[in-house]
């Protein structure tokens, strides 16, 4: 699907990738996120090729280095908002020894959900759920934050809020932010923009 993709990003970069459905942008995101190994070529993050790692190490690598935000927020319905944010901290070595809960509360405060920490996902709106997903993605202070259509299921206003929040949090964290989206409007808010077409990645 991807034929000629070469991309080097540095901490602090905020990148958007747009393209039509089936162009391969989500595939690129999954390859970047160490979820789907490429058939050829390599991916390196912090001088590590995750696809050379064993299953256990790969899982720990994702846990520590990468944060994900999906179009469908994928929250655990049985857990509260706070617990959803804490989910990645339960496994592997925490980046914040002893302070996961505080950090989760701080993140929820930053995404404007400090009054919803004990709520269940079913009690939240779509935008709120996505904000929880963003907070969860950032809980382990990842080097790389990957967002797959983060505003795809949201209305205009909620999408705007999420976009602003993502950029704000990224700015504070100094991580690499990669967002794939259909939305030209969202893509336009990012300093670095790419377009994916027919398996090729082209900088706009």
């Amino acid at each position: 699907m991807l034929t000629s993709v070469s991309l080097t990003l540095s901490p602090g970069d905020a990148v958007s990738i747009i393209g039509p459905s089936g162009s391969g942008k989500s595939t690129l995101l999954h390859i970047l996120g160490a979820l789907d190994p490429p058939t050829s070529g390599t991916v390196t993050l912090d001088e590590t090729d995750p696809y050379r790692l064993g299953d256990k190490e790969l899982a720990a690598f994702r846990n520590k280095k990468i944060g994900f935000v999906f179009q469908d927020h994928c929250l655990l319905p049985q857990c509260s908002v706070l617990e959803n944010v804490l989910t990645p901290t339960l496994v592997g070595a925490s980046n914040h020894h002893g302070g996961s809960v505080d950090r989760a509360r701080a993140l929820l405060d930053q995404v404007g959900l400090s009054d919803r920490v004990d709520h269940r996902p079913a009690q939240l709106s779509g935008g709120e759920k996505q904000r929880v997903a963003v907070a969860r993605a950032l809980i382990n202070e990842p080097v790389l934050l990957l967002c797959d259509e983060p505003t795809g299921n949201l209305d205009h206003r909620a999408a705007d809020v999420i976009a602003a929040m993502l950029l704000d949090l990224h700015h504070r964290a100094g991580s690499i932010l990669v967002v794939v989206t259909h939305s030209g409007e969202l893509a336009a808010r990012f300093p670095i923009r790419f377009e994916m077409a027919d398996g090729n990645l082209r900088r706009l």
Binding site: L35, A59, R62, G67, L86, L90
Partner: protein, 1145 residues
């Protein structure tokens, strides 16, 4: 597209879920119908077994004595009888003991049949004959003895005697006769060799010999005691059966002869008339009454009762006459006699006064008077033996005043006043006497022998009849003979007239004859004491429930899986009813398909259970002859019940669709779609929260436990009810706990927070999780609680309150013992002498009279119609051993010793009895206070159950007092059942010594605890069966739990994929899923076990703190199966590709 097309498409597209639903329903139907098939099969097998064993027999004529062998021929000469009855054959049926001479192997309680060729022809076996010196054994007996054709078999058989052994002249020793025979092969139809008229599924010990041989060796020429009858082809309804039985009774009533009832009419001379005598040497009251009635109907005839007795001595001063017959005179004869030969002032037709009884009159004959030197007014003393019912021969004395002396004339030298007493009356000399009681022949003088030579049994003295009745009458009858006299005629002139009149007045059925509807009664008995269908429905209860719950869960999962589809249908215009109709149709088809598959499963399940009954659980049924018989009616009943239950589950499941929100369904939001709208609270929630209900149930349980501890409620009801209430309460709390808002935040890192996440997952669907926990908890409760009913054979072996009464040994004898082995005389009579290292005089025997009947214990699968009855002697009753579960005790004394109730007077026609509680409930289907009707010889009697023994060795019988027993069954003498107290612990030597010394009686000693254990084995086997099937239900529930978990995992594959995306590795996911499943299984097991232990605390206490251990491996198995299922679910989750899951594809 038609609606039906949509249904078809749905069924095939979601085939995996639907297959699970179909299999769940199929299992429920299979188990339910299969269990009913088991009931049918046991009934049909028992019937088949019984029918095979009775051959062509439909009816049987039996007798307490012996009747003419040609009675059948006489009956057949009657037209009406001949038209109804197809065949008949006379037999002699006796109990015996056989010994294979070569091996020495012996078998007691053998049913011996003396047959002629007519028996084989009657059963359609042509050309077979039992030789005069041959014996044919049933296959079971051959197998038990290890014998073969050509071997010498010693047959020890009861020697019937018409004279009751319980009377002075009845023989109490040498009761059997040994016959040497050669074993031969029987006819090829071996089922006939297991011939038995008594329904019993166990091995049959039957033996066949020539009837002529038995008649010859047992002095029964021309006699038989069993007449088999078969009906001519025709209907076999109960109505027809009743008609035929009444016809046979009518014909028998017209055909029987006095000889068939053991009555003899002997013409004497004109003055003495006709002597009526009985083979038993006693004229029973009923015969006397009939004879009087017959005499009253013939002009000029008088009936005079006579009682003659043997006096050991007649003494006057230092003179005595040994061994003299004393006979009775009625008041009129006494008056005439004393007037003529006394001083003319004897009693004149009046009863003896109190004064007379102090020194009653006696009339001596001249020989006696001279021998004693007695004159009128002298006081003579009579010494005589009295046989006491309790087994002692006592010498009693009575003083008489000489009232008269009669001459040695023919009138007073009537040697026919005495019936035949074997060993005495046929003797040529007194010195040749061989009576069944001790005589000192050295006392016999030449002049006594002279008297005997001249006058034989002519009485030497006469006493008033009224007095002889008081002194010498027995329960077998008051008189030894009757005299029927018409002084105007020669006896031959009215003999036949009287015979005819007597026949008309006699009721042959009161006198001992009986007609039994063998086939019909056996058919009734085949319906069984235990409804195995019902039992196996109970036993399979958890299998059915587990299967239905699983099917329901999967059906619901299927609905939830198609939530968006339902939302879409609603969006495009389907109303709620349309959607429900769609799912109902699918459900009906799935249920129907499940039912169809269940039919095959039912046969398989039924066959499996029957196989189990023949093999693993053979201890419960005691036969390997049970086979599967398919009865369409039960099959249909099972199928309809199973499918009906399935439909109810479907309707219950789809009812929730009515309230589901189409918008949320379209969004695939399960929680939101089924969230209760305001104002639509369920009835349950309106009543109260689960916690409130739990508290209420806890209070109820606490109340029951308190009631039990304070003795207001029985232990079983209190603790079991308390345990059940506690179980329900804990399940309510568990549900409330699962539903509660989660306030503790899962945080930290490592395996524990992941495990906690697994626990949290279990709380995600509280209803589904609570259902799984409830299923496992209930099954665990039943398995552990039921296990507490498992009998411990080691407990309380010598405890007087235990099921053995503290008696180490129990014994039964083929022939009754009349002598009391507790007395030196009795031991001497029974040859129970001291052995080296073994003092048999230190044994204490509790003796029981036995009236044979059906085994009322759980060892007999047939319904007992005429239970065996035991009657303990008074010493046993006073001992107050054993424990009672329930009694009708009215005062402190009876409450202390409930056996005393057996002697309470309940009024005319009601006899108190005691039974074992288990037999009473599960076999006889009665309870304390009920009355059981019994057909006694004297007419129907009501047996009132006044007490139920707790877990005793008396499971096969009813117990009544000896006094009532002797009143109801006067013909049954001696003691045949014994409980033996033996000091020390060398019971094996005691058993061997007793069996050896009393082998003539077929004495069989067993350990009382082993006897109890044989009953326990049956109960424990039932418990094992229940546990095995309950456990199977539990395993099915656990596997279902795994399947539900797998479904949960699949439903949550996006969540799991996300967790993998954020860094969870395989071990994290495995921990999480296993924790969830282990939580559910452990909660279920823990709740079930805790409540069960509360419920069985009394049982644990009685076992000295032992917990039920048999159920623990089963529960461990459940845990292993549950965890294995969760591992499988984890593996499935890990196999799911990550990216599609993340994309929710």
């Amino acid at each position: 597209m038609h609606f039906s097309t949509l249904v078809r498409r749905n069924l095939t597209y979601f085939w995996r879920t639907n297959l699970a639903v179909v299999l769940g329903f199929a299992t429920a139907v299979a188990v339910l119908a299969g269990a009913l098939l088991v009931g049918d099969s046991v009934r049909a097998s028992l019937r088949e077994l019984f029918i095979g064993r009775i051959g062509a027999t439909d009816f049987a004529v039996t007798s307490t004595g012996f009747f003419r062998q040609k009675l059948g021929d006489d009956l057949a000469s009657k037209t009406e009888f001949d038209e109804a009855v197809g065949g008949y054959c006379p037999l002699i049926a006796l109990s015996g003991l056989v010994i294979d001479e070569q091996s020495g192997h012996r078998a007691s309680s053998v049913q011996l049949y003396g047959v002629d060729d007519s028996f084989w022809r009657f059963n359609s076996v042509e050309g077979f004959t039992v030789g005069d010196r041959d014996i044919i054994l049933s296959p079971d007996l051959v197998s038990e003895l290890g014998s073969a054709a050509g071997r010498t078999i010693l047959l020890r058989v009861e020697k019937p005697s018409a004279i009751p052994a319980g009377s002075l002249h009845g023989r109490k020793e040498d009761l059997s006769r040994t016959i040497r025979l050669t074993q031969q092969n029987g006819p090829s139809r071996t089922s006939l060799l297991s011939f038995s008229l008594r329904p019993q599924q166990g091995p049959t010990r039957s033996a066949f010999v020539s009837i002529a041989r038995l008649q010859k060796d047992l002095d029964l020429a021309g006699k038989s005691n069993l007449l088999l009858l078969s009906r001519k082809a025709g209907g076999s309804s109960r109505k027809v059966d009743r008609y035929l039985r009444s016809l046979i009774e009518k014909e028998l009533g017209e055909t029987f002869s006095l000889e068939d009832l053991g009555i003899k009419l002997r013409p004497l001379d004109q003055k003495r008339g006709v002597a009526l005598e009985s083979d038993s040497a006693f004229v029973s009251d009923s015969i006397y009454q009939s004879a009087r009635a017959a005499g009253d109907g013939i002009s000029g005839i008088s009936v005079r009762p006579i009682l003659s007795y043997l006096a050991n001595s007649i003494k006057l001063g230092d003179r005595e006459i040994p061994y003299s017959i004393v006979s009775s005179l009625n008041s009129e004869e006494m008056e005439v006699t004393t007037h003529d030969y006394g001083h003319g002032q004897g009693p004149t037709g009046r009863s003896l006064s109190e004064e007379d009884l102090k020194l009653p009159p006696i009339v001596l004959n001249e020989w006696a008077s001279n021998d004693l030197g007695a004159r009128r007014e002298d006081v003579v003393t009579l010494e005589y033996y009295r046989w006491q019912d309790e087994g002692r021969l006592e010498t009693e004395k009575a003083k008489f005043r000489v009232e008269g002396i009669v001459p040695m004339t023919e009138e007073f030298l009537d040697r026919d006043l005495v019936p035949d007493y074997p060993g005495i009356t046929e003797s040529q000399n007194i010195g040749d006497w061989d009576p069944p009681f001790p005589v000192d022949l050295q006392r016999v003088r030449p002049r006594d022998e002279d008297y005997w030579h001249k006058y034989k049994t002519a009485p030497k003295a006469f006493v008033p009849l009224e007095l002889t009745e008081k002194l010498w009458s027995t329960r077998f009858g008051k008189y030894t003979s009757l005299r029927i006299v018409d002084t105007r005629r020669a006896p031959q002139e009215y003999l036949e007239e009287f015979r005819k009149a007597l026949r008309e007045k006699l009721d042959p059925f009161v006198a001992g004859l009986a007609v039994n509807s063998v086939r019909s009664e056996g058919d009734q008995a085949s319906r069984g004491a235990t409804d195995f269908g019902e039992y196996f429905v109970y036993f399979s209860f958890f299998l059915v429930i587990a299967a239905l719950l699983l099917a329901t869960v999967f059906f619901r999962v299927g609905i939830e899986q198609r939530l968006r589809e339902i939302g879409l249908l609603r969006a495009v215009g389907y109303n709620t009813a349309d959607v429900r109709s769609l799912f109902l149709r699918e459900g009906v088809l799935l249920g129907g398909l499940g039912g169809a598959i269940g039919i095959v499963g039912a046969v398989g399940y039924g066959a499996l259970i029957m196989y189990g009954l023949r093999t693993w659980w053979v201890g419960a049924v005691g036969t390997t002859l049970l086979t599967l018989k398919i009865q369409p009616l039960s099959m249909l009943l099972g199928i309809f019940s199973g499918v009906g239950a399935a439909f109810l589950c479907i309707v219950w499941t789809i009812r929730s669709l009515a309230q589901a929100s189409p918008r949320e369904m379209l969004a695939g939001n399960l929680e939101a779609a089924f969230r209760k709208r305001p104002g639509t609270a369920s009835r349950f929630s309106r009543v109260g929260s689960p916690s409130t209900l739990g508290i209420l149930l806890l209070l109820v349980g606490g109340g029951l436990l308190l009631g039990s501890v304070t003795g207001r409620i029985g232990d079983t009801g209190g603790f079991f009810g308390g345990g059940m209430s506690l179980l329900a309460a804990l399940l309510c709390f568990e549900y409330a706990w699962l539903k509660r808002p989660q306030k503790n935040v899962i945080h930290g890192h490592g395996w524990w927070p992941v495990v906690r996440l697994g626990f949290r997952n279990a709380a995600h669907r509280p209803g589904r999780s609570a259902l799984c926990i409830a299923l496992i908890a209930s099954a665990a409760f039943i398995i552990v609680a039921v296990d507490s009913f498992r009998r411990d054979d080691r407990a309380g072996e010598l405890d007087r309150r235990s099921g053995t009464g503290g008696y180490p040994l129990a014994a039964e004898s083929l022939l009754p013992l009349y002598h009391d082995p507790n007395t030196p005389d009795g031991r001497e009579a029974l040859n129970l002498f001291e052995r080296p290292g073994l003092d048999l005089s230190k044994l204490t025997f509790m003796r029981f009279r036995v009236r044979k009947g059906d085994d009322a214990s759980c060892l007999n699968l047939y319904q007992p119609r005429d239970p065996r009855i035991l009657a303990p002697e008074d010493d046993f009753i006073k001992g107050g051993r054993f424990s009672f579960q329930t009694t009708e005790a009215q005062d402190v004394e009876e409450r202390t010793n409930p056996w005393l109730m057996l002697n309470r007077n309940y009024g005319e026609g009601i006899v108190p009895v005691v039974a074992d509680a288990n037999s009473l409930t599960y076999v006889l289907h009665h309870k304390v206070g009920d009355e059981i009707e019994l057909a006694a010889k004297s007419g129907p009697v009501k047996l009132r159950v006044v007490g139920a023994l707790a877990d005793s060795i008396f499971q096969g019988e009813l117990l009544m007092s000896e006094r009532n027993f002797l009143r109801l069954f006067p013909d049954i003498g001696g003691y045949s059942f014994f409980l033996i107290d033996a000091p020390g612990e060398n019971w094996g030597s005691v058993s061997a010594a007793l069996e050896d010394e009393l082998s003539e009686f077929g004495f069989d000693v067993v350990s009382a605890s082993e006897k109890l254990a044989s009953f326990h084995k049956v109960e424990n086997t039932y418990i094992s069966t229940f546990q095995a099937l309950g456990g199977l239900g539990l395993v099915l529930g656990t596997i279902g739990l795994g399947a539900v978990l797998l479904r949960n995992v699949l439903e949550r594959r996006r969540e799991l994929a996300l967790l993998r995306a954020v860094g969870y590795d395989q071990s994290h996911l495995a921990w999480m899923v296993i924790a969830e499943n282990a939580f559910l299984v452990s909660c279920g097991l823990a709740i079930g076990m805790i409540c069960a232990i509360v419920a069985i605390l009394p049982a644990i206490g009685s076992r000295g703190g032992h917990l039920p251990v048999v159920s623990l491996p089963l529960l461990a198995l459940v845990l292993v199966v549950g965890l294995t299922a969760s591992v499988a679910a984890t593996m499935a989750s890990l196999r799911a590709p990550l990216i599609p899951a993340l994309r929710a594809e």
